[in-house]
């Protein structure tokens, strides 16, 4: 195929793609999973990627394009290097998520829905992230941070800007607390 040599996917991704397709009774069902794999590596799905994926699944490019343009998490242009998702929906809003988003916008220097000019940061308002009891919820990449509000949000944004969120240990993500299951008191970002 003409498109094949244009795609720059790593060997690992290609292997993963070849593994995921036969898991489904019908090839087309693998579309979302293949798109995820390509997007994880390339950051977005170009027209060229659409054609390549379609080819892989014996579909037409439009069958992939119609997915990219429908699903909120599929992208035609990439987000920033660090992508920040802020939950916007009512339970989080009641806990101040609109204020949180404003703080993040100000500190990171980029408006919600956009990528900063240098490509470092992007912010996205999301609909309910299914963690409403600990809102406002903010995701950085694949990690979920809880109760990011007010002063907490200021501190959070600063650490994020200084690229010290992980090393500071001041904020533990939902995912991190699972692995080690620390006692409740270890969580500094928990309201009393």
């Amino acid at each position: 195929m003409i498109v094949e040599h244009l795609m720059e996917l790593s060997k690992e991704t290609l292997i993963k793609i070849d593994e995921v397709i036969p898991k489904y009774p019908e090839k087309r069902s693998a579309a979302l999973m293949v798109i995820h794999l390509v997007q994880d590596e390339l950051g977005s799905i170009s027209d060229e990627s659409c054609s390549w994926i379609a080819d892989k699944l014996s579909l037409q490019p439009i069958n992939i394009k119609e997915l990219i343009t429908f699903y909120p998490m599929l992208r035609e242009t990439p987000w920033g290097k660090t992508h920040v998702r802020v939950c916007r929906t009512l339970p989080c809003a009641l806990r101040g998520s609109y204020g949180t988003c404003k703080i993040l916008e100000d500190k990171l220097g980029v408006k919600e829905g956009y990528v900063r000019d240098d490509g470092e940061y992007s912010i996205e308002f999301m609909e309910c992230l299914a963690d409403c009891g600990e809102g406002p919820v903010v995701m950085v990449g694949e990690h979920t941070y809880e109760n990011i509000e007010g002063k907490n949000a200021e501190k959070f944004a600063k650490l994020l800007l200084d690229k010290e969120l992980n090393s500071s240990k001041e904020f533990n993500s939902y995912e991190e607390t699972l692995v080690v299951a620390p006692p409740v008191s270890k969580r500094t970002n928990k309201k009393s």
């Binding site: 999973m33 995820h36 119609e66 909120p72 009512l90 339970p91 009641l94 299914a130 963690d131 409403c132």
Partner: protein, 450 residues
Amino acid sequence: MIKKSTPKERRIILKHADDPNYSNKIDCYLKNGGYSVLKKAFAMKPEDIGEEVLKSGVRGRGGAGFPAGMKWKFLDRKSGKPIYLICNADESEPGTFKDRQIMYKDPHQLIEGMMIAAYAIQAKQSFIYIRAEFFEGARILERAIEEAKEKNLCGDNILGSSFCCDLVVHRGAGAYICGEETGLIESLEGKRPNPRIKPPYFPAVLGLYQCPTIVNNVETLCNVKHILEMGGDEFAKLGKPNNTGTRIWCVSGHVKKPGYYEFECGALTLGEMIYDVCGGLLPGRSLKAVIPGGSSSKILRADERFTGKLKDGTEFDWGIDDIPLDFDGPASAGSMSGSGGIIIMDDTVDMVEAMANINAFYAHESCGQCTPCREGSLWMRKITKRMCSGHAREEDADLLLSVANQIEGRTICAFGEAASWPTQSFIAKFRDEFELKAKNDHSKPTLQLI
């Protein structure tokens, strides 16, 4: 986060979830007796398992509350087509965060429940449709499935029998409508998740690849394990008739201790949940309204009286605090328990702003197939947003209501109702605030929720 059980909780599904010594690895699950119920199931006839589930009276935990045993009975077994089992792990109804706790902290419980269900309905292929925002959740499930396969508890020749059922984790991509079961099926077929019209597309008859398919929620499928463990009749003793088992309630919004709490159905009232379990309202605030079953359910006003007759004939006269937390309680009060997401609002909330926030959700999430839903949800967002920006008009309440009324009942899927019920109920209960907005046209908007 890790939460201690409050004394009155009855944790069955979440029994181990927040135990600091418990992990989501298979060794830990096995040490705690895991997969012993699967062994028990394989010693039974598949149809007998279905009977137990029917006897248990367990109702679906995904939102509609349909009895699971009955749904399984509707399966078209005569067609000879393969049967599919799908776990709905989309968890996208605003205010709901229970399935997350199960999948991240106790994934093997779900896998065991699913393999029992698959055996009972004789499905040879099963899927977990998980929302894409659960990045780590999908990885945890995939790891857990691998672990289970290694021990012959899933996949080929389960427990050395001739029964095989593969289990695949399928990730969505951020669309709420993928929680609607026929939208989910379209999505799993690799298409846009446009819901299908019922009839004829009842999944139990014409589901995935036009084959008979059972779609059940995460919590429902976990319950299958517990039903078989204790027996359908014993399970039915938990909770109340027609409201059996436990439920995981998710409380969010303006209370001191929001969170997820598992109780027997009907074990407590909404008031007990708010004040005893969740520590009451924030200091100096008073209760204004409650949305009892996810953002799609109708809002309840704190000073309302709820009167009527229960199914068993007894009359009731409740204040908001008296509403029993089970399936029938919120329904009797004119709303529904839906997905179990209880959203609490105190007196600081501007109801028009709250409405605008909810409308923005539905406008964003409509799949766009049906004109009333696609256009109506956009107009409702536009109107409420304008109202909050200092441009409210006197006729807005009626305008909103007329848009909502023209969506309800005129669409392919229940999203139409989900989008119109909030508006209808907000206007019915808080019309004064919508009208006041027009009078105070030039007042400075607070704009905290939109």
